[in-house]
């Protein structure tokens, strides 16, 4: 086993996902076989090989630092579920409502 249920729970926490307790066993088994598959890469000699992290070989792309009109604020609120005073309304971030934070 490359991973166990504890690791899966830990990674789920990082990914802001919740795996139901009743599914955790099956999910872990499945993830384990996937991870075992990707670890075939261990057999590849990559000594001294630079990594490729982009689709193109071009580097920084610059533009003139000139202000341009963006998307209208009202439009951007169109898909927001709850709003108040021009902001998105969400539950309190802290137990006391966050006013002292």
């Amino acid at each position: 086993m490359a991973i166990n249920e504890e690791t899966v729970k830990e990674v789920a926490k990082l990914a802001k996902l919740e795996i139901e307790e009743e599914d955790i066993h099956a999910f872990t088994k499945e993830m384990d076989s996937i991870i075992e598959m990707v670890e075939q890469l261990e057999g590849l000699d990559t000594e001294g090989v630079e990594g490729t992290y982009h689709g193109l070989s071009s580097h920084n792309v610059w533009r003139e630092d000139k202000a341009e009109k963006g998307t209208d604020k009202e439009l951007l609120f169109k898909n927001v579920k709850t709003r108040k005073n021009g902001f998105i309304e969400v539950p309190a971030m802290f137990d006391n409502g966050g006013s002292e934070a």
Partner: protein, 488 residues
């Protein structure tokens, strides 16, 4: 009016001669959808009212003689933003999402006068190879309704194969245009990375994703790619060199060209020999037409699948962080804290395959595994890319099968993620290398279409289309029509 009987140029000609109007074409599209989509299941949303309005405007304004796409219907994969028309990526998390702007590709097609008919089904967030991962519906293969249309752009493929629209757009991160094109007997291209702007394409693997068209013929495909290509200031990874006319030189033939056959792409032990046989026949035809056939090697091909699944999933785990239930998309109910909104909205909104990929990506990027996974995969990617650089110093294009099998049964692989991943073995190296590749129909095996993959060097789509066109002209495969059999 049946779109299966005409090329885009023929439809354009009819519009110019006023034998048909843009409104009639749009109506024909909706009628065909009404007749066939209860079986095929390609569309997630229809744009009926606005499409008919736009078609009416196109007729009144007059069809542009110099613009072959003017007034023609098109279907758009549901991960490509369409202003005012739902765009869900086939996910519950975006079920009611209505974009407030267009993707650059959509905008370019509309500027060219195309009429958006509706949005097409797909695997959720483009993760899958059969369209069975859609949160909303199954799409069936028009050649045999018991079989998958391929994926992730399965709706885009099925809609064109069923004659519902003459053209559609898909996206290809690891084969998601080429595999469904192969499974449904169509032409589908994954352009060079950077050729088409990704602005407004819901991001999956940002260093791999490209939008590409589905059509029935090679030239049609080149015409649509002409319209959607080009530099876009809104996508800094879009190529800022010139965009050639992809139809230029398309009829030059293959005489004197060097065509490479990568030995790693021909598994002689494959369970469906009919695929390899069809491709071998195609190679013989190229030889007969005067091309020089050269056996070549892409030695790192077998590391394509593990490298791809690490890189694509890592990029996805980062890209999909934006779905947090706050600014748009599904928000879980009965939540008490902000953390609850994130975790519950994501856990209830994402499907199982998407969760698997996010988990694999998060794992591969996590501190204990970064070197062994993400970094190693990036190094493998360099070696895979170099394989292509080496062979393209010697040959003009590569030809190979697009897939290892023809379309399989619905339900056959959906509970076996590894088997599903392995089906991408012949398509993912192209995305990792960033090179362009097309799939064209080249025969039948088990009564289902077989795809021939033609891979070119970076930005050499013209050469790919030329080689594809030579084959199409000599064969009848692109004019074959699906039977809609096998369904209930």
């Amino acid at each position: 009016m049946n779109f299966l009987d005409y090329t885009l140029e023929e439809l354009h000609d009819k519009l110019i001669k006023k034998e048909v109007t843009a409104v009639e074409l749009a109506e024909a599209s909706f009628k065909r959808i009404e007749e066939t989509d209860s079986e095929v299941g390609a569309f997630l949303a229809l744009n009926k009212e606005k499409a008919l309005e736009a078609a009416k405007e196109a007729d009144e304004k007059g069809i542009d003689e110099n613009n072959v796409l003017s007034g023609l219907p098109v279907g758009i994969k549901d991960n490509i933003l369409t202003k005012g028309l739902t765009t869900t990526a086939a996910s519950k998390i975006l079920e009611d999402f209505i974009p407030v702007y267009d993707a650059t590709a959509t905008e370019k097609l509309e500027q060219a006068g195309m009429i958006t008919i509706g949005k097409l089904n797909m695997d959720e967030f483009a993760m899958g190879g059969s369209t069975e991962n859609s949160a909303f519906k199954k799409t069936r293969n028009p050649w045999n309704l018991n079989k998958v249309p391929g994926g992730s752009s399965g709706g885009s493929a099925a809609a064109v194969a069923a004659g519902q629209v003459p053209v559609s757009l898909g996206s290809d991160t690891g084969g998601s245009v080429r595999e469904p094109a192969a499974f449904t007997g169509l032409v589908g291209i994954k352009p060079t990375y950077g050729r088409v702007s990704r602005y407004g394409l819901i991001a999956f693997g940002s260093s791999l994703d490209q939008i590409g068209p589905f059509t029935r013929t090679v030239k049609d495909n080149a015409l649509v790619l002409n319209a959607i290509s080009g530099h876009d200031p809104k996508d800094s990874t879009s190529y800022n060199g010139e965009t050639p006319d992809f139809t230029e030189g398309i009829n030059k033939g293959v005489k004197g060209l060097r065509i490479g056959v990568p030995r790693e792409y021909f598994n002689e032990d494959a369970k469906e020999q009919g695929v390899i046989e069809s491709v071998r026949e195609a190679i013989k035809l190229y030889e007969k037409m005067g091309a020089e056939i050269v056996e070549v090697s892409l030695p790192h091909s077998r590391f394509g699948i593990p490298a791809y699944y690490i890189i694509a999933s890592s990029e996805a785990s980062s890209n999909l962080q934006r779905f947090d239930g706050i600014r748009y998309g599904y928000r879980a109910e009965n939540v008490e804290s902000l953390e609850d909104i994130y975790v519950k909205s994501r856990s209830e909104g994402f499907g199982l395959e998407v969760k698997r990929r996010i988990m694999l990506g998060t794992f591969s990027l996590s501190s204990g595994f970064y070197d062994a996974h993400f970094k190693k995969a990036a190094q493998a990617r360099t070696l895979i890319r170099k394989d292509f650089d080496t062979v393209f110093a010697d040959v003009d294009v590569l030809v190979a099968p697009t897939t290892t099998t023809t379309a399989y049964d619905i339900g056959e692989k959906i509970n076996d993620p590894l088997a599903m991943y392995m089906s991408d073995i012949l398509t993912v190296p192209v995305n990792l290398a960033g090179v362009p590749s097309i799939s064209i129909p080249c025969g039948f095996s088990n009564d289902m279409p077989v795809g021939l993959q033609i891979i070119g060097n970076h930005f050499e789509e013209q050469m790919i289309y030329r080689v594809a066109q030579a084959f199409e002209k000599e064969t009848e495969f692109s004019s074959q029509k699906p039977s809609f059999k096998g369904g209930k």
